[in-house]
């Protein structure tokens, strides 16, 4: 598969940029350890089981940023223009750019979950179900990175990263949304972040099953599918202006 050749190149770019890779895995890890230490004071959402999924989702935002940056940089240096003269379809380009970052997201999630487990994280429900939710969100974030990278400049990408990071506040990883209520809950309900966090927390803390988290999965599925379709469409547009 020719998209594999592109994926190999992008994976090399990730591996050969140790600072970004270290930030992508290291920063969420530091955050997990710091917040977990604070959790000793009794804030329930800071216990490893409730905190770790939020940290994993936070880490995905950094992966989104990296994936957007490489694409944006390739556009600005005209490397993308050269690559687009190769006989690949838009879906090949999306998978070639996405797969390495999905691998990074997966590695990041495994490291964080493992450290979370050492700190006392446990799952009352199916681990596979949690993995499904997180995998869908990883695809969503990387696809979002593709969209941003395909339309924004390198400088604009940093701004977009900050904006997405702010939006994730409505996921409820850093504080209890129910306590604030009102607009925060309304906004949180129409974005995928809260649904992803609610679903993974419900499975891990309460042992919820597929049926229990189905409404959340619909939201996550819709956002992820929409992001992938939009990423392919954006690439199609980029290929034939």
């Amino acid at each position: 598969m020719r998209s594999t050749e592109l994926a190999k190149r992008n994976l090399k770019e990730v591996i050969r940029d140790p600072l970004s890779l270290g930030m992508a895995v290291g920063l969420p890890l530091v955050l997990l350890l710091t917040l977990q230490a604070l959790g000793g004071d009794g804030a329930p959402f800071l216990t490893p089981t409730l905190l770790t999924p939020g940290i994993v989702l936070f880490g995905f935002v950094m992966v989104m940023f990296s994936s957007a940056m490489i694409l944006s940089r390739d556009r600005e240096t005209s490397l993308l223009g050269r690559l687009l003269t190769a006989p690949l379809r838009s879906s090949d380009f999306v998978s070639g750019y996405s797969l390495p970052y999905l691998l990074v997201a997966m590695a990041q999630a495994i490291v964080l979950m493992t450290v979370g487990a050492v700190l006392g994280l446990g799952s009352a429900g199916s681990v596979v179900l949690v993995a499904l939710v997180l995998a869908a969100m990883a695809v969503f974030y990387v696809a979002l990175g593709m969209i941003l990278g395909a339309v924004l400049t390198v400088a604009q990408t940093s701004g977009a990263y900050a904006f997405v990071l702010i939006l994730t506040i409505f996921g409820g990883a850093w504080f209890d949304l129910e306590e604030i209520g009102g607009l925060f809950i309304t906004i949180g309900d129409v974005l995928p972040f809260k649904h992803a966090l609610d679903a993974s927390r419900a499975v891990m803390a309460d042992g919820a099953g597929l049926g229990d988290i189905a409404p959340d999965l619909y939201w996550i599925g819709a956002y992820t599918t929409g992001a992938v379709v939009l990423a392919i469409a954006t690439f199609q547009r980029e290929m034939r202006k």
Binding site: R16, T77, A86, P87, R240
Partner: protein, 319 residues
């Protein structure tokens, strides 16, 4: 049920690139205004024109990177609008920018393009090794290309266009930033491809087009201004010979005397330039010597593609 049967007949057509009325508009701006071109297989065809003439836009349409606003174009019979994958299968492109993967080494950059074109690992490696030798990059092949000089990056960029053995190659300003020696080496290599590979070359270096191109298309304002062989284009405007007389101290009196014999005589920085069919060095010397003018040399000025462009469009090509 009777199905529709489509039979494709491949006629032996020597045309590699055919563009008819090819046009591109960006809003109100017309970048390419109905270009008609045919490039034969194995031909080295050069597109000349000042910045903004529409050269790169034309190449981008032929490479399926820009959708034409009007007209049609095909590469080896594959329509650029309806069959872009087939077009991309047979082309190689060296864009105006070096367009490299900075954290990969030269070997990996070449392998990337070979892999994307699906030419097979063994063949890709062989071609990459060959091109690294030709471009003089073999001894730096394992260094990350972001550590390369501009000239080295440019050489690698050209190699990346050629690594998949394309039948049609587009070289957009390929030798910008190369030193004269490297440029000459690249010319030799590109010239060696003539006959087997169709090459479309855009350049600002007129001597490059003059030395390499079988035919030249002069474009300006998105339109074709002239088309022909370099010699043919030069012949069109070289009806009257021009003699250059190198003389540092041409006085007004000397010029007046010369003009009585040759009314076209005019002073230029190096001396005097005279246009005419019956020019005599002896007669010119007889006109100038009484005024103490020292004639250092005389020569017949050859018409260059620069002159062709100036004559056709009234513009300098290197603006």
């Amino acid at each position: 049920m009777i199905g529709k049967v489509v039979v494709t007949v491949h006629v032996d057509d020597p045309v590699a690139i055919r563009a008819t009325g090819l046009a591109k508009r960006f809003g109100d701006h017309v970048a390419v205004a109905g270009l008609d071109l045919t490039v034969e297989e194995g031909e080295l065809f050069s597109l000349l024109g000042p910045n903004g003439a529409g050269k790169t836009t034309t190449i981008k349409m032929l490479c399926c990177l820009l959708r034409p606003s009007g007209g049609t174009a095909s590469i080896l019979g594959h329509d650029v609008r309806t069959d872009p994958i087939a077009v991309k299968q047979v082309i190689g492109v060296s864009p105006q920018e070096t367009a490299l993967a900075p954290n990969l080494n030269a070997w990996e950059n070449l392998g990337l393009m070979a892999g994307l074109h699906g030419i097979g690992k063994q063949r890709g490696r062989r071609r990459a090794a060959e091109l690294l030798e030709v471009t003089g990059l073999a001894n730096r092949a394992m260094d990350k290309v972001k550590q390369y000089s501009g000239g080295m990056q440019r050489r690698l960029s050209i190699a990346m266009a050629l690594v998949a053995d394309p039948q049609v190659v587009f070289l957009d300003e390929p030798t910008i930033g190369l030193d004269p020696q490297a440029r000459r080496g690249m010319w030799d290599y590109v010239a060696g491809l003539k006959g087997t590979t169709t090459i479309v070359l855009t350049t600002h270096y007129l001597e490059e087009a003059d030395a390499l191109a079988d035919r030249v298309a002069v474009v300006d304002g998105g339109a074709l201004v002239a088309l022909g062989t370099p010699a043919g284009l030069k012949a069109k405007i070289s009806g009257t010979p021009v003699m250059m007389v190198e003389a540092p101290n041409v006085t007004d009196g000397a010029l007046a005397a010369l003009r009585r014999a040759y009314p076209t005589a005019r002073v230029v920085p190096a001396g005097v330039e005279i246009e005419g069919d019956d020019l005599s060095v002896y007669e010119i010397a007889d006109c100038l010597r009484p005024f103490g003018v020292e004639i250092r040399s005389t020569s017949i000025k050859h018409v260059s593609l620069d002159d062709v462009f100036l004559e056709l469009t009234g513009k300098e090509l290197r603006e």
